[in-house]
């Protein structure tokens, strides 16, 4: 067991060192955070300037995370994709596999490190976006406080959703190996499936759409979840199931194929 633990620690330290020693990774995250905050402010301003006598265009809780959902998911998913594809492109993956011959350990370590980084960034961003939005809309519509029912859960779920997207990216990178293909696959899961479902005829758009990541994410970040979709708790399971299935497929694929 100790040997196993040591091996897991080795693999994690390896992947973490690689992740944080490439400058572009850090700058991608910093840029993602700055742009997210900017978009959030713009959306909050538009919400605050809506006439007070009409119902607000958005649920104030959902509005806090619109910038987040529309934008942040993209760079973080791509970052997840690059965790594998950058190594396949340079050939470094073979060095990685000679250092850690167990493919499963490499995948697990990459997933944990990337997932944890995305979770931390996601949670920090979630809290910041929420406070920022509520401060801006407070004067007009009365902002929510952190302790308002439903808010802590939503904030927790938003961070989780970002980690889930990053992990879908990691799995797609391991399976597709080429950056362009992997990004296309990951974004299909993260964005496009939901978009496709929205164009289906009436009962089917929500009936299928509720199992996609964006619909599930919507359910966990609104004060009044929509009827006809999944409950927030089940939606969290959906958010977790996509990366879990993708990672299992990636593990099988990594074991089967030559490096």
């Amino acid at each position: 067991m100790t040997a196993r633990l040591a091996r897991a620690r080795d693999a994690l330290a390896f992947e973490w060192t690689k992740l944080q020693s490439v400058r572009s990774n850090r700058w991608t995250l910093v840029a993602a955070v700055i742009v997210t905050l900017g978009i959030t402010v713009v959306i909050a301003e538009s919400l605050a300037s809506a006439p007070a006598n009409r119902p607000a265009p958005f649920d104030p809780l959902t509005a806090s995370f619109l910038g987040y959902a529309e934008y942040t998911v993209l760079p973080v998913t791509v970052l997840g994709v690059l965790v594998f594809t950058s190594e396949y492109a340079s050939g470094l993956i073979r060095t990685t596999f000679t250092a850690v011959p167990r493919r499963g350990s490499v995948l697990a370590a990459k997933a944990v490190v990337t997932g944890a980084a995305a979770l931390v960034v996601g949670e920090v961003l979630a809290v910041t976006c929420f406070l920022l939005t509520q401060a801006i809309v407070a004067g007009r519509h009365g902002g929510l406080s952190l302790s308002h029912p439903g808010v802590p859960g939503a904030i927790a779920a938003v961070g989780l959703a970002l980690a889930a997207c990053a992990l879908v990216g990691v799995a797609a990178g391991a399976i597709a190996r080429h950056t362009a293909g992997a990004i296309a696959a990951a974004l299909a899961v993260v964005y496009l499936l939901a978009l496709l479902c929205m164009f289906l005829p009436d009962p089917w758009n929500t009936r299928l759409g509720r199992f996609t990541m964006p619909f599930a994410a919507y359910q966990v970040v609104s004060l009044h979840p929509r009827a006809g979709l999944l409950s927030p708790a089940i939606s969290v399971v959906v958010l977790v199931a996509w990366p879990a299935i993708a990672l299992l497929a990636a593990a099988a694929e990594l074991r089967r194929r030559d490096a």
Binding site: L12, T17, S21, T95
Partner: protein, 407 residues
């Protein structure tokens, strides 16, 4: 439980807990949260603390002394400053497990319809430099990739000290390898590239400094690999191979792209490492390179073993003949053939006789009154011997351009 299962499971547990939290928080104040749910929340929170510790607690700034970060001279083409060949202390090096360090038996590797390696068997002994030779496309790299567990063989086995590569714990301590030195992330500095590899096998930072010093890369440690010359990148690959002070080294074409100084450096290094009792397997498609360093040769062509022999023996076994020029060459040829030798026309217009030495031919000619104008004993070079051996097995043959003899 394998880690590939453990991670998704962990994610599911965390997700479930987050779901509980969402539902509970939405449906009422937290005092209705049952005790077991809190216990679950705490249990799920603990591993993330460990992950955070690993991620953020262990990383310190690189311990490179400031002066080593000074930029290398602008026009440095990769020629290193004085290179220390003195090896690091080997106190912690484990002796190799037996007389055979690498054992390949019945190895076959098929890619679709192409057979890259076809029933290859050989063993590599410690204490000498073993040259792994073959024309381009002979299957050298494939064999090395199978030894390193990167490709799985279609048939047969490749063992290192009796174990499959994938079963070795912390494999860098047993076998250091260099397959493709340019397979490095261009945006990472040399220091971090080596540091990451060191951490993957529980090797300390001190050792990273040591290999950087050994390979003469210390002044460039803080530079990104994308700025390196080919020679420096090759040195970085060697540094990575030596990182854990392994008893076995496996190098694929290590001198490719190196300048003369670099080539000489590698030669000395490999001889030195073998003299310390390590196992060194070096592949090359250049016989001339191997002639300088290899003690033992393993030669393959089209995925099959052509020769597995001490280098000296290979040379002595090489083709020898005598070039004879005589106005009555045909008569001489008949006489030599009658005595069991073989004779045939030579490119230069003379007669090439194999199976008799020069004095014997001279005596024979004199006894029959045949004038001899030239009598030259010839030794094939190692290069010729190699080409003789592999000419039937090269995948791609060159058509000599007009007037240019390739051999």
């Amino acid at each position: 439980m394998s880690s590939a299962v453990a991670i998704p499971l962990l994610v599911v547990v965390v997700g479930f807990v987050a779901g509980c939290l969402t539902a509970v928080v939405r449906d009422g104040p937290p005092r209705y949260l049952p005790k077991w749910a809190w216990a679950l929340v705490i249990c799920a929170a603990v591993p993330w603390g460990g992950v955070a510790y690993l991620a953020f607690g262990r990383t310190r700034r690189p311990g490179i002394p400031l002066e080593t970060l000074a930029p290398v001279q602008p026009h440095d083409p990769g020629g290193p400053p004085a290179v220390t060949l003195a090896p690091p202390p080997l106190a912690h090096r484990r002796p190799s497990a037996g007389p055979v360090a690498i054992e390949v038996s019945g190895l076959t590797k098929r890619y679709g319809a192409v057979i890259a390696v076809d029933g290859l068997s050989f063993a590599v002994q410690p204490g000498k430099v073993t040259g792994f030779l073959g024309p381009n496309g002979a299957g050298k790299t494939t064999t090395m990739r199978v030894i390193l567990g990167l490709d799985s063989p279609t048939g047969g086995t490749a063992l290192i000290a009796g174990k499959r590569y994938r079963d070795i714990i912390r494999p860098l301590h047993e076998i250091g390898s260099l397959l493709d030195a340019t397979a490095v992330h261009r945006g990472r500095t040399a220091w971090f590239h080596l540091l990451a590899l060191a951490r993957s096998n529980g090797i300390g930072q001190q050792r990273v400094h040591e290999v950087l010093r050994m390979t003469g890369l210390e002044p460039a440690a803080g530079r990104r690999v994308g700025e390196f010359s080919l020679g420096m990148t090759q040195r970085l690959g060697i540094a990575a191979a030596l990182l854990a002070d392994p008893a076995v080294l496996l190098l694929d074409e290590p001198v490719n792209g190196l300048d003369l100084e670099g080539v000489r450096w590698i030669r000395q290094l490999l001889t030195h490492l073998a003299a310390e009792g390590r196992t060194v397997l070096v592949s090359s498609h250049l016989m001339s390179e191997m002639a300088m360093i290899a003690d033992h040769l393993i030669i393959i062509g089209r995925g099959r073993l052509l020769a597995d022999t001490p280098a000296a023996e290979f040379v002595s076994r090489a083709r020898r003949d005598v070039l004879v020029k005589s106005p009555r060459a045909a008569e001489l040829a008949a006489l030599a053939t009658a005595r069991g030798a073989t004779a045939g026309p030579d490119d230069s217009g003379g007669l090439a006789i194999t199976g008799m030495d020069a004095p014997g031919i001279g005596e024979l000619a004199a006894a029959h009154g045949i004038a001899v104008h030239e009598l030259v004993p010839r030794h094939a070079s190692l290069e010729d011997a190699y080409l003789d051996l592999t000419s039937g097995s090269a995948d791609y043959h060159f058509e000599p351009a007009e007037g240019v003899a390739l051999r």
